[in-house]
C-alpha cells in the first residue's frame, strides 16, 4: 500500500538529486535545470499531503510554485542570454570577479 511516507521519501530523493546538481554543476544552464528538479520535488510533496490530509490548500500552493517557476525561467534565461552575449561563456566561475 502506498502511504504518505512513500511519497515524502520519493520527494526527498528527488530533492536531493536536485540539490546534488545545484552543488555540483558549474554551468549556469545546468544549475537552472537543478532548480526545476527541486521545485518539482516539492510539488509532489504538496500534492501528496493534500491528498492524504484531504485538504485542497496543498494543491493551491503547488499551482503558485508552478507560476513562480515559469516566471523565474523567463527572467533567468533573459539574464543568461545577456551574460553569454557579453562574456561568451555561461560558466559560474566567470561570474567571480573578486578573487579571494
Amino acid at each position: 500500500m502506498i502511504t504518505l511516507n512513500s511519497y515524502l521519501i520519493l520527494s526527498t530523493i528527488l530533492f536531493s538529486i536536485g540539490l546534488l546538481g545545484a552543488t555540483r554543476r558549474k554551468n549556469l544552464l545546468m544549475l537552472f535545470f537543478s532548480t526545476e528538479i527541486m521545485l518539482n520535488a516539492v510539488n509532489i510533496a504538496f500534492a501528496a499531503i493534500s491528498k492524504f490530509h484531504g485538504d485542497l490548500t496543498g494543491q493551491m500552493f503547488a499551482f503558485f510554485v508552478v507560476a513562480i517557476a515559469a516566471s523565474e525561467v523567463a527572467v533567468g534565461l533573459g539574464l543568461l542570454i545577456l551574460w553569454f552575449k557579453r562574456h561568451n561563456t555561461i560558466d559560474l566561475d566567470s561570474l567571480q570577479k573578486m578573487g579571494g
Binding site: 520519493l10 554551468n27 537543478s34 494543491q59 523567463a74 545577456l82
Partner: protein, 197 residues
C-alpha cells in the same frame, strides 16, 4: 495493486531521468531527460487525484518552460560537452547527503498539525451545487480564498514576460555568431543601407 505498480514504475523512471539530467555532460541530453522527468512527475499528480495539477504540469513545464529552454539553447554552445571544473567532488556529495538526512529526520518527526481539520476539503464544489471533481474543487478554492494571490501571480507573470523580452531582446538585430569586428561592421552597414538611412 495498480496504484502500487504505477507508483514504483514512475518513481524509478523519474529518479533515473533526473539523475541523467544532473550527471550528464551533454546539454541536449540534460534538456531531453528533464522534459521526460517532468511528464513522469505529472503521473504522480494523476495518481494523487489532482488531475488539474497534472495537466498544468504537462502544459506549463513541458509546453512552456522546456520550449523556452530549447529556444534559449540556440544562443548557447550546446553541441560541445559541458566542461566543468569541480574543485572538491567529495564535499558536494557529503553536503548533499547530510542535507538529505536532515530532510528525512524532519519528515519523520511527529507532525504537530495532525489533528487539524481540513479547511478546504475535497469535494467542496458539491456544497455549491457544482459537479464533483478535482477541477471544480480547484476552481472553487482558487477563486474564493486564493483570488488575490492568483491576481498577483498573473501580474508577476506579466512582469517576468516583459523583463524577459527586454533582457533577451537587446541588440537582437546583430548576429552574435559573427564575432569579428569587421563582420559586425559589415552587417551594421548592410542593415542601415537596407533601411534607407
Amino acid at each position: 495493486m495498480f496504484e502500487v505498480v504505477a507508483f514504483y514504475l514512475f518513481a524509478i523512471l523519474t529518479i533515473a531521468m533526473f539523475t541523467i539530467t544532473v550527471m550528464t555532460k551533454n546539454a541536449l541530453y540534460a534538456l531531453s531527460s528533464l522534459a521526460a522527468g517532468m511528464i513522469f512527475i505529472s503521473a504522480f499528480f494523476f495518481l494523487l487525484d489532482a488531475e488539474f495539477l497534472g495537466v498544468v504540469q504537462i502544459v506549463v513545464y513541458t509546453g512552456a518552460v522546456m520550449a523556452l529552454y530549447a529556444f534559449g539553447m540556440m544562443f548557447f554552445d550546446s553541441i560541445n560537452d559541458v566542461e566543468e571544473k569541480i574543485a572538491n567532488p567529495r564535499l558536494t556529495f557529503l553536503l548533499t547527503g547530510s542535507v538529505a538526512l536532515i530532510v528525512v529526520v524532519i519528515f519523520m518527526a511527529p507532525i504537530v498539525g495532525a489533528n487539524i481539520d481540513a479547511n478546504y476539503p475535497m469535494g467542496i464544489a458539491s456544497q455549491y451545487g457544482g459537479v464533483t471533481g478535482n477541477v471544480q474543487d480547484v476552481g472553487v478554492v482558487l477563486f474564493t480564498k486564493y483570488l488575490i494571490p492568483f491576481e498577483v501571480a498573473a501580474v508577476m507573470l506579466l512582469v517576468a514576460m516583459i523583463g524577459g523580452i527586454i533582457l533577451a531582446g537587446k541588440k537582437m538585430d546583430r548576429d552574435i555568431i559573427l564575432d569579428t569586428e569587421e563582420e559586425q561592421e559589415h552587417l551594421h552597414a548592410f542593415v542601415t543601407k537596407k533601411d534607407g538611412v
